[in-house]
Amino acid sequence: MEDCLAKKMEITVSEAEKRTGRNAMNIQETYTAYLIETRAVESQTEGQCAPVESLWRRYSEFELLRNYLSVTYPHIVVPPLPEKRADFVWHKLSADNMDPDFVERRRIGLENFLLRVASHPVLCQDKIFYAFLMQEGGWKEMVNETGFQLKADSRLKALNATFRVKNPDKRFTELKHYSDELQSVISHLLRVRARVADRLYGVYKVHGNYGRVFSEWSAIEKEMGDGLQSAGHHMDVYAASIDDILEEEEHYADQLKEYLFYAEALRAVCRKHELMQYDLEMAAQDLTSKKQQCEELATGTVRTFSLKGMTSKLFGQETPEQREAKIKVLEEQIREGEEQLKSKNLEGRDFVKSAWADIERFKEQKNHDLKEALISYAVMQISMCKKGIQVWTNAKECFSKM
């Protein structure tokens, strides 16, 4: 982590702005642009701060960056972007992309994304990433020039296609299961949390009605009047307190969401391994069958049933010259195949090694982050209860004075 960009540079996504412009199809559209500010950390002498550089980016550019990174570094668990559309909303939150609260939370998410990439030992060194932060114009062209789209294995996108892999690395299989489970459990949790938040909101808000009725009632009471009035005030406070509480909880939900999306990134790495292994096995199989063919031709025995054998029986044997030629071709192919297999094997082993290293790093990060998130959630709950205690203690006092 010593050479991380994050240590050398302060990165913030400080603002969000609504813009209108023409998109690729020349249609007018509204979108939000985010201001990325960077400032070198090292050179701070005698209170002189390094100048702040800034540029604007929109969400689709972030997406492009991430796609580039995932294709270019398939063995890395690439940090996820905040959600494109608002999911898991409870009724008061709007699902509108333009809603200021949503935009704000997205801004924070994008900043988080940049920081995660910048603190990743491998990713932070990428030139395109650096350019993303520093170079406003011409960045898109730069990315496309790398031709990364060609490298992208379209099979990775086909999430549901299964490949029969005979000898996958067990660790990856387990990891894939884990990422599936993680995904399902977190999304379930977020759904229920949204419902719980909804209900809690209801409970608090109805108490607000107490406030109104109490104050109306206090108008006709003499001895009870003051007590009722002040108790009603506390009910109003109680009802209003839920807004802040739930807003804080949204941040917790966002933290969990990050790991929901991380699970997908994890699965992508596992997938890549699967595909590599599959290709390897296919190549090996191909090689074996070619070798076998060669052998058959050379020795003249037909070990297995083959069309060639049948036709030669029917139409007569080939000439020795023809056979020689074929054998030569096959031998060439076999040599090539063996080379390929070797390199594929090497590739595979390298992949597994580096992927696994990153996965370990990711695991540690995940455990640490999740623990922190859970603790902060508990702290939130405690503070909510403390507030509740305070309000009801006050209310109790008012009531006892009635």
Partner: protein
């Protein structure tokens, strides 16, 4: 004066409208233990002043029938004292419980009876302990008898016959239990009431065996004649309007209208809160297990997750307790007061009727002084009663509020404590 503190203020049931059966019986039944009370009653009838504290204050209110203002502290405060005396358990001499519901199936119908146990040290009761079984109809009978005898006193509310809104089956356990509690409260409120507690029908209700009760029910002033009188009274009040209504009662009427409105709203709010809490509870039930499920996939974070899961369970339980607290304490009381507000409106109306009668009689028979006095007496008694009821209501309210808050507070403290434990992990 302590011993006489037991003597209730408005001494005896106003037998004004009826044939005075109750009056007689009550007076006779009091016997020697109530000597001073009898004297006080006589004193009152003679409209005389006496050293007796209660009578004195009573007299004061009588004199100020038309200019009585609720904010004058003298009489009400002494009334409060009286009420408090009766409230103290040390001085209570009549203890009633309603329990053990049982269903009876006959060819015609099925119904529930409740066991009513009475323990008393009062002289007029032949024995010190009674146990009888009563059904809801019997309670209805008792209430209507009390209303006949004391049209301007506030008779406590009875639980309703059916609860349509909640769609509760007539014989569901929940319904029976709610009703039992309400019936228990009903009888105890009567017992605490300084006047009603000596009502003869009440005594019979508590002590008579089933067959005795049925035969007694059949006696007694016909309901029809009563109804006829009521109809006439309504007619006359509608016709003439209520003139000379003392300002106090107009104020009371206005108060009751607003109060009734507010209490109905509160009742609705409380029900709504209960419902929301129940929904919240249902969602929470699902929330906890998810964390446990998750902890199965994790190693490092597993313990924290399990911790959270168990805390959520605690929260669930705490929420359950809170809901139970609501439904046991807050909801029934709000409901009771909703009924009370209806009753009070009724009482005020009846008072107006009486006043209407008085006025019309005054118009028609301007010189019959004795009758006029009789009515004034009633009105005076009503005033006292209403004032007392008001204060009783407030005292009750305070008590209830304290209870409710204590429950809420304990719930929240519980929730907080559990979260605290988790945090330490």
């Amino acid at each position: 004066m302590e011993a006489e503190g037991r003597v209730q203020g408005p001494p005896l049931p106003a037998g004004g409208e009826g044939p005075g059966v109750d009056w007689h019986l009550a007076a006779g039944a009091l016997g020697t233990a109530r000597g001073p009370l009898l004297a006080a009653a006589e004193v009152l009838a003679l409209d005389d002043e006496e050293d007796d504290l209660e009578v004195f204050s009573k007299d004061a209110s009588l004199a100020e029938v038309n200019s009585f203002s609720p904010s004058v502290p003298i009489s009400p405060s002494s009334m409060i004292n009286q009420y408090k005396f009766e409230d103290g358990p040390e001085l209570r001499d009549l203890f009633i419980t309603v329990d053990d519901p049982e269903s009876h199936i006959t060819a015609i119908e099925t119904f529930i009876t409740y066991r009513v146990v009475t323990k008393t040290t009062r002289g007029e009761f032949d024995s010190s302990e009674y146990e009888v079984r009563r059904r809801y109809q019997d309670f209805l009978w008792l209430k209507s008898r009390l209303e006949e005898a004391h049209p301007t006193l506030i008779i406590p509310p009875l639980p309703e016959k059916f609860i349509m809104k909640g769609m509760v089956e007539r014989f569901s356990d929940e319904f029976i239990e709610t009703r039992r509690k309400a019936l228990h409260k009903f009888l105890n409120r009567i017992a605490d009431h300084p006047t009603l507690t000596f009502n003869e029908d009440f005594k019979i209700f508590l002590t008579a065996q089933a067959w005795e009760l049925s035969s007694h029910k059949k006696q007694g002033p016909g309901l029809l004649s009563r109804m006829g009188q009521t109809v006439r009274a309504v007619a006359s009040s509608v016709r003439g309007g209520v003139r000379n209504r003392p300002e106090m009662f107009t104020e009371m009427n206005n108060y009751m209208e607003t109060f009734s409105q507010k209490i109905n709203l509160l009742d609705k709010i409380a029900h709504r809160i209960y419902k929301e809490e129940r929904d919240y509870f249902n969602e929470m039930k699902e929330y906890g297990p998810i964390h446990t499920l998750w902890s199965a996939s994790e190693e490092d974070v597993a313990d924290s997750l399990k911790g959270i899961a168990s805390c959520i369970e605690h929260c669930c339980r705490a929420t359950e307790k809170r809901m139970a607290g609501l439904s046991e304490h807050l909801l029934p009381i709000l409901h009771e007061y909703v009924l009370y507000s209806e009753i009070l409106m009724g009482v005020l109306k009846r008072r107006d009727q009486i006043q209407g009668e008085l006025d019309s009689k005054v118009d028609a028979l301007a010189n019959k002084k004795t009758e006029k006095d009789l009515f004034s007496e009633e009105i005076g008694k009503l005033e006292d009663k209403v004032e007392r009821a008001n204060n009783a209501l407030k005292a009750d309210w305070d008590r209830w509020k304290q209870n409710m808050q204590w429950d809420m507070r304990s719930t929240f403290t519980n929730v907080a404590e559990n979260n605290l434990h988790y945090y330490e992990e």
